[in-house]
Subunit: 290 residues, 2 copies
């Protein structure tokens, strides 16, 4: 047991957070700190938010600097590493490699040709071979997971629940293709399926359709992990921007798979949802909300 | 047998073409005329191209004027009706109904809540109950179907053929959700799945991703009918705009399901594909090109 408050159990050491874009990395960092464990941010240049990173012990680096992360994390006494935040996959030839990466490059290059799951598993293995443990944000900060049930004032009606169920079945069917954690269904009609562009862009697309009076009204955004996906990477997430995007798209609600999706800034999410009269629910795989 | 050249067999009468946007209706009309059968265009205001419609015997009307089409088509001696051209589904309340439509409205309104297959089958039934026969463009003008094999100078390589096969499997998996006749796969990575926005918008999205250097390079656009889809409506189609969109998206080729997809202006499609060094192929369900 540690004698020092705030440093966590001595067998853990500080948590290394490899930090992409968005507010999620900071939500995780704050939750981990609240559990009494220190964090060290490895902020990815061009992705992580510099103003917010400054509030934590941190290093700046570029995507692809595997050797650098291993070296600094080891020097900081970190054993556990979390990947969190948005990073769109750049072309392989634009990554800035260091020597540590170059050693593992053949494996990463092979994995680069394929879906995200494939790539990320390969990166995880490389870290593990260096003695680190790749953990999921949900393991170190379980309170960031969406609970089951409705967290907004508005409740989904029968049609909206049917749309949620249809979207979940659709996401399950496409999951094996390692694409798409999100879809929009309105009145039994699938309007959009997320590809590489991400949820915000997909919602913009639905907003454009609606501006042209196509695609009906109301509807639900549903997000769920791919079946069999490695939960240590890229769990589906929602945040204030998601609610605002859903409102602009004329949707009546947002549903995410309960206990399998991350909510950044839950209080703001709920407040915004109520302000826009949008429901936000954590749905179970079988479509129930309990 | 008819004694008049150009009027077709007397048991057929002229073909009624309900004409949406794009060049496909005119490709079908010209092919039908070349077979010696007259056509009557029912041009949908806001969708059909007025300049091109003018070259055919035609009537202008609005989507939703079911009674009007039945009346005029009967007066013209038409028994067969073809639906062709792009029509995005407007909100039900914006349709301009005539009395003929109002009589069938409860059925159409019920069908409106659901995917396109569902809606269109219901419309087809309504026409059939009025004594018309709804036929597919491929039945009256089989030459507009894409043949199997490569029709461009460029040939797909092994990776591109693997991407085509993956996209076909993906489209098959989502087909039962009555969405998406198109997807883009690049280096085993699914970049985009078509929703209600249509193929051109999906290609714009891929072009935007690539402008941000996301989503790799090359890749293939694949289009195929939904499994079990009614071929009398909305067969997947490509035309010159598709090739230009694919080129802007940095794709290396376009593949459509052979004998199950329509090519508008095949000569321009091939010429543009060669100019952009893009391959265009008709692929069989099993991924072969023969």
């Amino acid at each position: 047991m540690s004698a020092e408050a705030g440093s966590g159990p001595p067998d853990q050491g500080p948590l290394a957070i490899i930090c992409g874009a968005g507010s999620l990395p900071f939500a995780v960092a704050d939750a981990v700190r609240a559990h009494g464990r220190e964090v060290v941010m490895f902020a990815l240049r061009g992705w992580a938010d510099p103003e917010r990173v400054a509030a934590y012990r941190h290093y700046w680096g570029a995507l692809g600097q595997f050797g650098w992360v291993c070296r600094q994390a080891r020097a900081e006494g970190c054993r556990d590493i979390v990947f969190i935040g948005t990073i769109a996959r750049p072309p392989l030839w634009r990554l800035r490699f260091d020597w540590g990466t170059l050693r593992i490059l053949p494996r990463v290059a092979a994995a680069y040709r394929g879906g995200d799951n494939h790539l990320l598993s390969s990166v995880a293995q490389a870290f593990e071979q260096q003695g680190f443990r790749l953990v999921g944000a949900h393991e170190v900060a379980p309170e960031i997971l969406m609970p089951a049930g409705v967290v907004s004032k508005r409740q989904p009606n029968a049609q909206e629940r049917a749309d949620m169920a249809q979207a979940l079945r659709l996401l399950e069917a496409i999951g094996k293709f390692d694409v798409g954690q999100a879809a929009v269904v309105a009145g039994n009609h699938v309007l959009a399926i997320e590809g590489v562009e991400g949820t915000d862009k997909m919602l913009e697309r639905v907003a454009e359709l609606r501006a042209r009076q196509i695609g009906g009204t109301s509807g639900v955004l549903v997000k769920a992990p791919k079946p069999g996906q490695d939960w240590r990477f890229d769990l589906p997430s929602i945040g204030p921007l998601t609610i605002e995007g859903a409102a602009r798209a004329g949707l009546s609600g947002v549903a995410v798979l309960a206990r399998a999706s991350i909510v950044a800034e839950p209080q703001r999410v709920t407040a915004l949802a109520d302000a826009h009269n949008i429901f936000v629910v954590g749905v179970n795989v079988d479509g129930t909300l309990g």
